[in-house]
Amino acid sequence: MATATYTGTEKPNYLNWKTSVASWLLTYDHKRIAILYLVSISVFFLMGGLAAALIRMELATPRGDLLTSDIYNKMFTTHGVIMIFLFLIPSIPAVFGNFLLPLMIGARDVAFPRLNLLSWYFFMAGALMVLIALFRGGIDTGWTFYTPYSSSFAKGEVSLAIVGVFLAGFASIFTGINFLVTIHKMRAPGMTWFRLPLFVWAMYATSLIQVLGTPVVAITLLLVAVERTFRIGIFDPNLGGDPILYQHLFWFYSHPAVYIMILPAMGVISEVISAFSKRRVFGYHFVAFSSLAIAIIGFLVWGHHMFSTGQSMYAGIVFSFLTWIVAIPSAIKTFNWMATIWKGRVHWDTPMLYALGFMGLFVIGGLTGLHLAAMATNVHLTDTYFIVAHFHYVMVGGAIMGYLAALHFWWPKMTGRMYPEGWGKLAAMLVFVGFNLTFFPQFILGYMGMPRRYHSYPEEWAVLNVLSTAGSSVLGLGYLLPVIYLTWSLKYGKVVTERNPWGARGLEWELVDPVPDPHNFERTPIVTRPAYDYGHPEEPTGFVPKPRPVVVGGKDG
């Protein structure tokens, strides 16, 4: 292990107390693991974004001129696989969950630090396999790996990509197990369940899905790889199998996976909205339980992906009904956020802009989900651009807006530097405008019947597609700006000297230092107040510090 290289005069923090490469790659510190995840998924996000840019460029003209249909298939597969499995699934849980969970509940680390590091290695090994598969000729199955495309027709390195996703899935399971135990067992004295920040509740619900859902998709993908290798007809109808079974098993995970992406974002929004409205989240208990409700009901709705694939109509009716039920906890959250802002002292900083953007886009994404959940309209809209627009409103407009809100909100805590506020606001506006310009026309295109996954289309859809492509360039710029100015701010950003630049509540803001110490808390905090206790401006700390006698030297200490 590296020796301490810190030589400065100020107090060392988790970033600079050791600087060797080994001290990063072998760290058990949840904060450093979060940074490892942050750097890796940022790279993957840019790669997935590049594929999206190529897709939109191709669709700028009706004829398929830039990419052949084959390459186009590979591009949207690349985009989907990278964005879902290598970016969105780990995004908020693995970066902000890792960084914040122990800080928020007053713990020195997650329950299983070594498992935490192992999860990152699993993730990177999986990502490497996926990338090798994509670069060695690519795969053209779509991110869903639907059989029999993936089992009998696809020629590329599908098995390798599948094993990669399998490994990344176990990384996600490890994170989920770790967080479940951490939330159950590692809370500081006085940090009762109903004093937990809502982000922690959201992470709890997310972890449940990760632990219960991911193994199912893991074994399913493994079976596809087995089918490809040994020609066993598990899913291929030509070999006696049933492709609908694949879809059942796949969506049993992959629909809840949508909630793995959106629930943590909802948790972030609860934090940000209350911090920038200076009010306790309205209806705390309802927001907390709505996270659990979404996680549980989310497991019972997977069949709505298969209304038009030969599933029994009666099953369809049940799935349709249950899907509508999910709208209720989602609406509870949205209304409670609005009620939180109402009569609050609203501060228009960048994280708040993203949070407000999230609310608008999530409402559109969620309500169009109801169009798709109704069986009659689903027949017309399924596999059109309406679906594409719908899930991008939820995943990009929802999850990534939440991710960016979190990134800006906790950036001073993570790096000790402030991002440039003006550029931040500009980027937030660009993202919002660019996003709507990109994806709103796709609702209309889908309603008009434009199918997804084709590289050419009739002339009459050209205007809306050009609009969408134009919007995507604005959106791309909006995403590129934070990459640039956040990187810039690492060296040139304003140094944060106060521990709580936003005046927010929560243990992570009440640490002694602006940037956390490697051991988080010098003293184990004792919590005496509920979360979001904004009523007492004269006493910002809400906890009684307790002397911590000895710092025990661990493996990384």
Binding site: R108, M186, G190, L223, D242
Partner: protein, 275 residues
């Protein structure tokens, strides 16, 4: 709760629990041994839940095809060796018993006893794998491994001998009638082409190899962990350590019982249900 009471619950065992501290048994992130142990337990149970869903999906897929191709699967069932399966079931059950004894010994800090029972568990696991090896070899020999040279002939042959399959010809094409012979009278339940029969029995053996293979992989992983634990227990014994952390053994025990119970479901579903 008042702050006073909370102070009590926050008592740091680092300071009070001398010998634990020196051994590095208590992880840096934990306050008390009790917190650490229950954390490990909850974590292990969460992992077991994960495993149940992992195996659950493939059990579900198997159930669907067994229902769909019930005759073909039944005939393919008959190729599996019930004596070896039964033997392995008892071997695993005994290994669970010795594992439970090892956990007990670990809790009592009787290191030698613990190493002994872990060793027995290891041996039983080894016997299981050796049996599995012979079982698999026999399947390979009869071309029942669903690879390149898969061949359903031995299934057809045995089924014909038992009067459960009859080859018929219609319009110059060959078909298999699958059914039962009672009092010398053959009743056909279903009629399939030889290709379909081949595909579906191949599917059965596909499930057989994937399910028992994944289970075998779990046994192997368990053997590695148990091997490490034997070494640790033996070192503790030689060093005459008064107290050692029993949680690794406890957790491995949970894992081992899971592996056992998966087999308890595999055995009837694959070996017995067609009889």
């Amino acid at each position: 709760m008042s702050v006073k009471e909370l102070e009590k619950t926050a008592t740091l065992e680092h300071a009070t629990d001398g010998h634990h501290h020196g051994d590095g048994i208590l992880g840096e992130q934990f306050e008390t041994m009790e917190q650490q142990n229950t954390s490990y337990l909850i974590g292990m149970w969460a992992f077991i839940v994960q495993e149940v869903l992992f195996f659950g999906a493939i059990f579900a897929a198997y159930a669907i095809y067994r229902f769909k191709y019930v005759m073909e699967f039944t005939l393919a069932h008959h190729e599996l060796s019930v004596p070896i399966g039964t033997l392995n079931t008892f071997v695993l059950l005994f290994s669970s018993y010795t594992m439970a004894r090892a956990v007990r010994a670990a809790m009592q800090n009787r290191h030698k006893r613990q190493a002994f029972y872990l060793f027995l568990t290891f041996i039983f696991a080894g016997v299981f794998m050796v049996n599995k090896y012979f079982e698999y070899s026999a399947k390979f020999e009869h071309h029942l491994f669903p690879g390149g040279d898969y061949d359903a002939h031995s299934v057809v042959h045995h089924a014909q001998e038992k009067g459960e399959l009859r080859v018929v010809e219609e319009n110059g094409r060959e078909f298999y009638e699958l059914g039962k012979t009672r009092d010398g009278q053959f009743t056909a339940f279903t009629k399939v082409t030889p290709e379909e029969f081949e595909q579906r029995t191949r599917l059965f053996f596909g499930f057989y190899f994937v399910m028992t293979g994944l289970h075998g992989l779990h046994v192997l992983i368990g053997m590695i962990i148990i091997g490490v634990l034997i070494g640790r227990a033996w070192i503790d014994h030689l060093k005459n350590k008064p107290i050692a952390d029993f949680m690794p053994v406890e957790m491995t025990g949970l894992y081992w019982h899971l592996v056992d119970i998966v087999w308890i479901f595999l055995f009837p579903l694959l070996y017995l249900i067609g009889r």
